[in-house]
C-alpha cells in the first residue's frame, strides 16, 4: 500500500488508471492486482471468457462495486479514495457522486425505468442531478434521441419498444449526462440477433464522431475489431494480452488468447 499514496506517473495522459487493483467476491479473486490504463479519447474493448472480471472493471468504475486493494484514478482524481492531509482515505458518498459525473454506463439488461416515458428516462437525471430546466433537458433529450435515431419515440414507454430500441434509449440516457467516459457492459448480449446491428452501429458512430473515452465489454469480435484502438484480453482477473485489434485478433502472441478466440469462432 506504500506506493498507493503516490499519484499515477502521468495522470494528465491516462483518464483511467488502475494501480494494482484487487477485487474479491468471497474466496474468488475477480481482479488480481490489475494494472490498467486508458488514455483520453481512447476506445478500448475488453474481451475474455465469462468470469474473467471484464464486467467488474466497468462496475467498479461506475462505483457499483467496491475494491479491496489498490487505487484507481479517473481524470486525475482517485475514484475510491479521497486525498486528506496528503493521505488517501476511503471516498465519501459526496466524492463518489462527484466522480460519477465523469462516467456514463450502458447495461446488458438496459435497465430503463419502465414506468417512465422515453423522454422522462432521458431527462430525469439532467433535471434532478445537473439542475437543468425541464425545457433545457427536453431539448437535450431530443438531441440525443436523434443521435440514436429515436426522435419519434419520445412519448412511448420502454415496454412499447423493441430490445434494440430500448438499448438505444439507454445510450441516449447515459449520453444526456454528457460524461467524458462511456462504459458499455455487454450492450448487445441480451438482444435478439436481428437487433444487435442497430445498437452496434449507434455505438460505432459514437466512437467515430465523438472524442468520448469508451470502454466496452463485448462478445462481438467483428465489432470490436472495427471500433477499438486497443483490445484487452482478460483471463482470471488479469490482462493476458493487449494491443491493436489487428494484432490481438489476427496474430495473438499468447496461447490463452489463441485458445479463446479459436473456441469463440467455433461456437459463434
Amino acid at each position: 500500500m506504500n506506493d498507493a499514496t503516490q499519484p499515477p506517473a502521468d495522470p494528465g495522459q491516462a483518464i483511467i488508471h488502475f494501480d494494482k487493483v484487487v477485487k474479491r467476491f468471497g474466496d474468488v479473486t475477480v481482479l488480481d492486482s490489475l494494472d490498467f490504463e486508458v488514455a483520453k479519447g481512447e476506445k478500448v474493448t475488453i474481451i475474455g471468457p465469462s468470469g474473467s472480471g471484464k464486467s467488474t472493471v466497468l462496475r467498479i468504475l461506475m462505483t457499483l462495486e467496491t475494491i479491496d486493494e489498490g487505487v484507481i484514478h479517473v481524470a486525475g482524481k482517485p475514484l475510491w479514495h479521497e486525498r486528506r492531509n496528503g493521505a488517501l482515505v476511503p471516498a465519501s458518498e459526496e466524492h463518489l457522486r462527484e466522480m460519477r459525473k465523469e462516467m456514463g454506463m450502458v447495461f446488458q439488461q438496459f435497465n430503463l425505468f419502465p414506468h417512465m416515458t422515453v423522454r422522462r428516462n432521458v431527462t430525469e437525471a439532467p433535471v434532478h442531478v445537473l439542475g437543468l430546466s425541464r425545457a433545457e433537458a427536453n431539448e437535450r433529450a431530443e438531441e440525443y434521441l436523434a443521435l440514436v435515431g429515436l426522435s419519434d419515440q419520445a412519448d412511448k414507454f420502454p415496454s412499447q419498444l423493441s430490445g434494440g430500441q430500448q438499448q438505444r434509449v439507454a445510450i441516449a440516457r447515459a449520453l444526456a449526462m454528457r460524461p467524458n467516459i462511456m462504459l458499455f457492459d455487454e450492450p448487445t448480449s441480451a438482444l435478439d440477433p436481428e437487433l444487435v446491428g442497430e445498437v452496434l452501429s449507434v455505438i460505432q458512430r459514437l466512437a467515430e464522431e465523438h472524442d468520448l473515452t469508451m470502454l466496452l465489454v463485448t462478445h462481438e469480435m467483428q465489432f470490436a475489431k472495427r471500433v477499438s484502438d486497443r483490445v484487452c484480453f482478460f483471463d482470471k482477473g488479469r490482462i493476458v494480452e493487449q494491443g491493436p485489434p489487428e494484432q490481438v485478433f489476427v496474430e495473438p502472441h499468447e496461447e490463452r488468447t489463441r485458445d479463446f478466440l479459436q473456441n469463440f469462432l467455433n461456437t459463434a
Partner: protein
C-alpha cells in the same frame, strides 16, 4: 326491541326482514372498525417497514422484533391487553377505538411486510441505473422505487382489508356493537339464533365476494410497470 327497532316473530321470514335494519346498524359499526383499523395498519405498517429496512441495526432490530411479536401473539390477547391494561395506566379509550387500535396494530405487522416485499421486488438493475445516473438516494426512492412498488403492494393490502373485516367480530368481546354482537343479542332476547347468525354469515359472504371482485378488478387496472411518469 333493540336500538329502537321492534322485531316481528310471526314467521321466520318476517323475523328476518324485521331484524335486517338492526343488523345494518351493526354492519355500519363493522365497516367503521374495518376502515379505522385498516388506516392504522397502513400508517403504522409504513413506519415499521421503514424502520426495519434502516441500515442502523439499533433501529432495524427492535422494529423486526416488534413485528414478530405482534404477528406471533393472538389478536384477542392484544385486544384484552389494550382494553384491560391501558386503563390502569390512565389511558382510557372507548371500546370501539380500543378494538380498531388492536386490529390496526395486529395488521400493521402484516402490512409492513407487504411494503417491504414490494419495495424489495424492484430489480437491482433499477437501483444500479439510478446510481450510474447519479440520482440521489431520496430521488431514487421516491421516483424510481416507490412508483414501481405500488402496483405490487396494493392488491396485497386489499387482501388484508378483507381479513380485517372478518376479524371485526372479535371486538364483540369488549362489547363493541358490531354486526355479530348485535346478532347475538337478538338471539339472546328471542331465543332464535339461527336466523340472525345465518344472516350475519350471509352478509359477510356477500361483502367478502364483492371485496374480492373489487380487488381483482383493481389488480387488472393497475399499471404493472409502475405509476406512469411522463
Amino acid at each position: 326491541m333493540l336500538m329502537g327497532i321492534e322485531w316481528d316473530t310471526s314467521s321466520q321470514w318476517a323475523f328476518a326482514i324485521s331484524i335486517l335494519p338492526i343488523l345494518a346498524k351493526g354492519l355500519l359499526v363493522t365497516l367503521q372498525a374495518t376502515a379505522v383499523g385498516f388506516i392504522i395498519a397502513l400508517v403504522l405498517g409504513l413506519i415499521l417497514a421503514s424502520l426495519k429496512t434502516s441500515r442502523l441495526k439499533i433501529v432495524a432490530w427492535p422494529a423486526r422484533f416488534i413485528t414478530e411479536f405482534i404477528r406471533d401473539t393472538p389478536l384477542l390477547v392484544q385486544l384484552f391487553f389494550l382494553y384491560y391494561v391501558l386503563p390502569e395506566y390512565g389511558i382510557i379509550l372507548p371500546a370501539f377505538m380500543t378494538g380498531a387500535l388492536a386490529l390496526g396494530l395486529q395488521y400493521s405487522a402484516y402490512t409492513s411486510e407487504v411494503y417491504r416485499a414490494g419495495l424489495e421486488s424492484v430489480p437491482l438493475g433499477q437501483h444500479e441505473a439510478a446510481r450510474a445516473l447519479d440520482l440521489s438516494p431520496r430521488r431514487t426512492f421516491t421516483v424510481i422505487v416507490v412508483p414501481q412498488a405500488i402496483p405490487r403492494i396494493i392488491p396485497a393490502l386489499g387482501n388484508y382489508l378483507v381479513s380485517i373485516m372478518k376479524d371485526v367480530p372479535l371486538l364483540s368481546v369488549v362489547a363493541v356493537l358490531e354486526m355479530l354482537n348485535v346478532a347475538k343479542i337478538i338471539g339472546d332476547r328471542t331465543f332464535n339464533y339461527l336466523i340472525p347468525l345465518s344472516m350475519v354469515g350471509l352478509i359477510y359472504l356477500i361483502l367478502t365476494l364483492v371485496a374480492a371482485a373489487g380487488i381483482r378488478y383493481l389488480d387488472t387496472r393497475l399499471p404493472k410497470q409502475g405509476i406512469p411518469l411522463k
